[in-house]
Point group: D2
Chain length 344, copies 4
Amino acid sequence: MIQFQCDYNEGAHPLIIKRLTETNMEQTVGYGEDPHCEEARRLIKQACQSDNADVHFLVGGTQANTTVIAHILRPYQGVLAATSGHINVHETGAIESTGHKVLAIPTEDGKLTAKQIDEAMQAHIHEDGPEHMVQPGMVYLSFPTEIGTIYSHGELKAIRTVCNKYDLPLFVDGARLGYGLCSPECDLTLPQLAQLADVFYIGGTKVGALFGEAVVIMNEALKRDFRYSIKQHGGMLAKGRLLGLQFATLFTGNLYFDIAQHAIDEAMRIKAALQTKGIGFLIDSPTNQQFPIFTDTQIATLSEHFMLSLWQRIDESHTAMRICTSWATKPESTDELIRAIENL
Amino acid sequence: MIQFQCDYNEGAHPLIIKRLTETNMEQTVGYGEDPHCEEARRLIKQACQSDNADVHFLVGGTQANTTVIAHILRPYQGVLAATSGHINVHETGAIESTGHKVLAIPTEDGKLTAKQIDEAMQAHIHEDGPEHMVQPGMVYLSFPTEIGTIYSHGELKAIRTVCNKYDLPLFVDGARLGYGLCSPECDLTLPQLAQLADVFYIGGTKVGALFGEAVVIMNEALKRDFRYSIKQHGGMLAKGRLLGLQFATLFTGNLYFDIAQHAIDEAMRIKAALQTKGIGFLIDSPTNQQFPIFTDTQIATLSEHFMLSLWQRIDESHTAMRICTSWATKPESTDELIRAIENL
Amino acid sequence: MIQFQCDYNEGAHPLIIKRLTETNMEQTVGYGEDPHCEEARRLIKQACQSDNADVHFLVGGTQANTTVIAHILRPYQGVLAATSGHINVHETGAIESTGHKVLAIPTEDGKLTAKQIDEAMQAHIHEDGPEHMVQPGMVYLSFPTEIGTIYSHGELKAIRTVCNKYDLPLFVDGARLGYGLCSPECDLTLPQLAQLADVFYIGGTKVGALFGEAVVIMNEALKRDFRYSIKQHGGMLAKGRLLGLQFATLFTGNLYFDIAQHAIDEAMRIKAALQTKGIGFLIDSPTNQQFPIFTDTQIATLSEHFMLSLWQRIDESHTAMRICTSWATKPESTDELIRAIENL
Amino acid sequence: MIQFQCDYNEGAHPLIIKRLTETNMEQTVGYGEDPHCEEARRLIKQACQSDNADVHFLVGGTQANTTVIAHILRPYQGVLAATSGHINVHETGAIESTGHKVLAIPTEDGKLTAKQIDEAMQAHIHEDGPEHMVQPGMVYLSFPTEIGTIYSHGELKAIRTVCNKYDLPLFVDGARLGYGLCSPECDLTLPQLAQLADVFYIGGTKVGALFGEAVVIMNEALKRDFRYSIKQHGGMLAKGRLLGLQFATLFTGNLYFDIAQHAIDEAMRIKAALQTKGIGFLIDSPTNQQFPIFTDTQIATLSEHFMLSLWQRIDESHTAMRICTSWATKPESTDELIRAIENL
C-alpha cells in the first residue's frame, strides 16, 4: 500500500536524522536557548532577509496558530479567516478555547480577498452598537490554503493595504509554506512574505522535519513576551534544540526549498496524468495537494494499492479525493500512481 | 418622538414598581434565597406544571445564555445555533469567551430544523478523525427568534426527537418568550415547552420587568451546581429578591401573559396597517417585532416622529426596519404610527 | 429578627425608589446611553474632580472585578492581590475563568503593602526563566478591605509609586467605598483616590442602591473598547438607565456620603459597646464591618434576636462574627443590639 | 563545562535514536493511530498490569497537565495541589488559562497529605454559601515532587481513600516517574500506582526520550473524548509514531527502569559525597534531584567546571542549588563532581 493521503507519512529528511544522531549526547540548555536554535534563527533571518525578525520554534501547527492568535488578540476580538481555514474547521475549537471567535468568511477557492476584509471591517464599524459584536482584531490566512491554492504577490499586497487601513495584524499560516513558494504559479518570495506579514510560520512538520514550525514575528509590537505565550500554551519544548537543529538543517544551503520543489514536481506529474485522463478537479491547485473528482468505481480500483484521502462527497457517484505528495514521495511511487490513473 | 425601536424602552409594569416600593425596607438574606424568590419559583413551577423544575433568576439575556451554555458543554464541545442566533451575532463573543464555538447553521427564517441538526450530527460522526473538529454538544434556539418567527409544537417535537437521538441538551432562549406564546400563530403552551426543553428561560427584561430572566432547568443531570456557574459568571445578584419579587408579580394571576398579549395585539394592528398599505416585509413575523421594508423616503418621513430600528439594508433605496411593540406600548402611540403609515 | 449579617439586606434609599417610580414610563435608549446615565457620569466626574474619567455602570461587584481585570491583563499575566482579597476567595474563580491567575500575597490585616508588591516584582524579574511563571500584570486592592481595614493616603501613594516603577495598573475595588471614605480614620478623599488609581469602582449595591457599581477609568490607555468587555461579560444592562438613575440620585447633593456616614456612626456605636464590654476583635476595623470574637454562649444569646454572620472559627469556644451596619440601619436596631451586648 | 543543572540536557537513549533511524522512511498514518503507538500502548498496559488503561502520548509535561486537568474539571472547579506543585508555579498559568484555579496547599516537603485534602473538602462543604468559592474538583500531585521527595505506598493509599470519600479524581504527574519508582526509598510499583490513580503520566522527556509523556487513564468515566482534548490543546502530534516508537523502545525489556536506576545510582553517589563533606540539604531527597546548600564561595568554585541550577536563596551567604542526574549522566562526570565536592 503506497500512501498519498497526506504529507506527514514519513519521518524526516535523512540529513535531519543524521544531525540528530551526531548531536545526541551533546549537553545543552533547554527551552530553545541553545546554540542550535541560535543557528537556526540566524539562518531563517537570513533567508527572510530581515535582521529584526523574532524567530520561535513550536512543535505543531495547531499549537502555533493558537499561540500566535491568543497572543495578538484582545479578549473581545476575533480573527477573520476563510470559512475553510484550518483554525475554523480542523483544530477542535482551539482558538475558541482561548476565548476568541473565528469570524469566518465564505470563499470559493479558500482565499480571502482584500475586498472581503474591507467589507467585514466596514460592516463592523457602521454597526449600530458595534460593542454588541465581536471586533475583528486580526487576519488569518494560509499559504497555501487548505485546498492548495496560493495568493499572488499582488493579492497579498492588497490584503496588507487593507490591514494597514484598519490596523489589523496579518498572520500567515505556513504549514505548507515551502510547497506554496515552490509552486510554478507562485510569484512571491520568502523575503516578500516576511515584509507583508506581521507574523507567519514556516512549516517543518510537512516539509522535511520530524515536527516543528518556525514562527517569525516581524511586527515589533507583537514580539513582547511571546515566550510567555509559548509556555502557557504548552509549546515550550524542554529539549528545544531538537527544533533548532531541524530548522538549522533545513535552512542550510537550499534544502528546505529543494525538497519542497521535489514534492511540487511529483504533484505536477500526477496532475498532468489526471488531466490527460480527463479527470476533473474540485479546485485547480498549483501545489502539492491535488483534489481530483473520481467515480466510486475509480476510487475502489485505486484503493487496492494506494491510500488517498476522502475529501468531499460531490454527488451520488463522485467524490473529491486528496492526493498529497511531499519531500519524501518516491518517484517510483508517483510512477505507479500515474500508471494506475492511466489504467482507470 | 415616540419610540418603537426596541422592547426595552420603558421601566417596569407599574405593579412591579408598587411591589418594589412596598417591600423596600424589608430585611432579607441575599443571593436569591429569600422568600420572594421562593414565591416566584413556586409560581413559575406552577405555570410550567412541573414540580421538578429548578428555577434560577439572572439579570440579563447574555448572562443567562453564557451561564447555561458554559454550564452544559464539555470543553471541546460547541453549541449548534442558527447563524442569526443571538449568541452568534449580538453577544460580543460571550460564548467563545468561555471557550466554546458556536456551530452556526444558516437558516432562511431564523429557525433551526430537526433535519439540519440531524445532518450536522451525521456529518460530525462520519468525519474521518472527528476529534479534529468541535463536537456538537447542545442545541440553542430562541423562541421567538431574533426575527420574530416561532416554532410550531410539531417542529419543536421533531427537534426534541433528534436531540434525544444524539443525547443533545436543548436550550431555548426565551428573552421574548411571552410574545411568542401569545402570538396568534402559536400552538405551544408553556408546560409543553417545559416538557420539550432541557433548559429554557422566561424573559423578564423585555416583558414587563425592570430586568431579569428566569432560567428553568428541567433536565436532572444539568441541575447540579448551577449556582456555582451563576456566581462565576457574575450573575448572582446580591439583592436577589429584586428578581424574585418581579417574577412573583409577573406570575401572579395571568399578568405575564396579559401584558404580552397586549404587545401582540398592538403589533398585529401595525402589521395589518403595513399590509393594507402594500408594504413588504423581510419576514412574516407573528410576534411583537415587525420588519417592514421601507423606501428611504418613507423612513425619512417616519423618522420625524418615530424612532424605529435599522435592521438590514435591502438595496440602494430600500431598508428593512424593525418596529417593536411591548407590554408598555400605548394604544394611542400605535394609533399615531398607523396614521403615519397610512399617510406614507 | 434584626439583621446585621451583611450590608445588602434592604432595598434602596427611598429617594432612589422615588426616582424609579417617577421615571418609570419614560422612553429611553438602552445600554447606558440615556440621559440618566449621562447625568450620573457628569456628577461622578465632578465628585472625582476629573473631566477625563470614563464612567461605566455595571450591575454587581464580581462582574465589575472580572470585567476590569480581564480587560487589563495580557493572557499570560496575573493580578497581585491579598490572599484575603474578594477575587481570591469569594468569586468562584471568576478571574481564573477568564484565564488569569490571582497571585495571592498573605497579609495580616487584608492590606497589601508597597514593599510586598515590589518584592513580588523583583522575584519575578530575577527568576531564571521568568516566562515559566505568571507575569504580574496589575495590582488589585479593596478599599475598604474584606475585613474592614483601610489604606492611608500615604500607603496608597507608596503603592502608586511602586506601580509606576513597574508600569502596573492599580485597580481599587470600592464595593464599600463610601464606608471607607467616611471612616473616622480615613485621610483620603475621592479625588485623591481617583488620582492614585488607574481604575476603581464606586460601590452602589452596598451603599444605598438596589444594585450597581460605577467603574471609573482614569488611565487613558485602559479606556479603549471597555464597552466591548462589559458586553462580553454580560454586564451591559438593557435598561441601563436604572443604573444611571441610581447613581445620579446618590451623587446629587452629598447623598452617597451622608448615608455612608450614617452606617459608620452606627458601626462606631456598636464597636464602642463591644469595647466597653471587653470583647476582643479579630481586627481593628474603622469601617462598617466589625469582627468581634464572641464565646459560643454569647453567640447563642445574640442569635435569639439578631442575625450576625459567622466569619471565622477562632478556637474551641470562640468565633469571630461579622456585624455589618449600612445606610439602612435603623438607630433603634443599633440601640437594641447595644443593649443585648451590654447584657451578655 | 559539565552540566548537572537539569535532567534534559542530552538527546535520547541511543536505542531510541537507532529506532528512529531504522523506521524513518516507513509510511504510517498520523495522529497516534499507527502500529508503533499501538505497540507502545500494549507494552505500557502490560507494565501497568492493566488491560483497561487508555494510553495517550503527548509531547510535554505542561501540555499533559493542562490537557488532563481541563478534561476532568467542571468550569467552576479547581485542582488541589501543593503550593510548590509544578502547575502552581512553573507553567505560566496554563491551568488558569483553561479557566481553573489551582487551590494551593502549603507543604513542608512538597507532598500533600490525605489529611490536608480532607480538611480542604470539609472547609468547602461547610462554607456558608459554598457556591461563592471554587469547588475542589480533583487532586494533583507529582511523583516524585518538584523537590525530589516521594510518597510511600501507604501515603498514596490514604490519599486514594480520601479521594474516594469525596469522589475526587486523583491525577499523578509523573514527569520523573522512573526516578521515583527506582528510588531506594520507594515501596510503590507501577501497577500499584496505576491502581491508585485515576490518571497519571509516565514521563519520557526526562527519562530517556527526546520528548514525550504517556498519559494513562484508568478511570472509565474520564476516558471519553480525551482525543478531542488532546487536539484542542495542541498536543496531537501529526507524526504521532515518534512518540509511540520512543515509548515502545523504553518499555521493551526493562529499559525505562534500567536507565532510571542508573540516574538514581549516580545521584546517591553524589548525595553520599555531600553528606561526607558535611554539606546540608534543603530537603532529604531520595531521587535524582539533590538540593545541597552551599556557601557562595563553594558555588563559585564549583561553577568553574559544573553547571548547577540555582534553586533558592537561603541567607546572605548560602544558596540551595539543584544537582540533577539522569539516564545520560556519565559515571566519569559524577566522579569529577564528587572530587570537586571533596575538594571544597
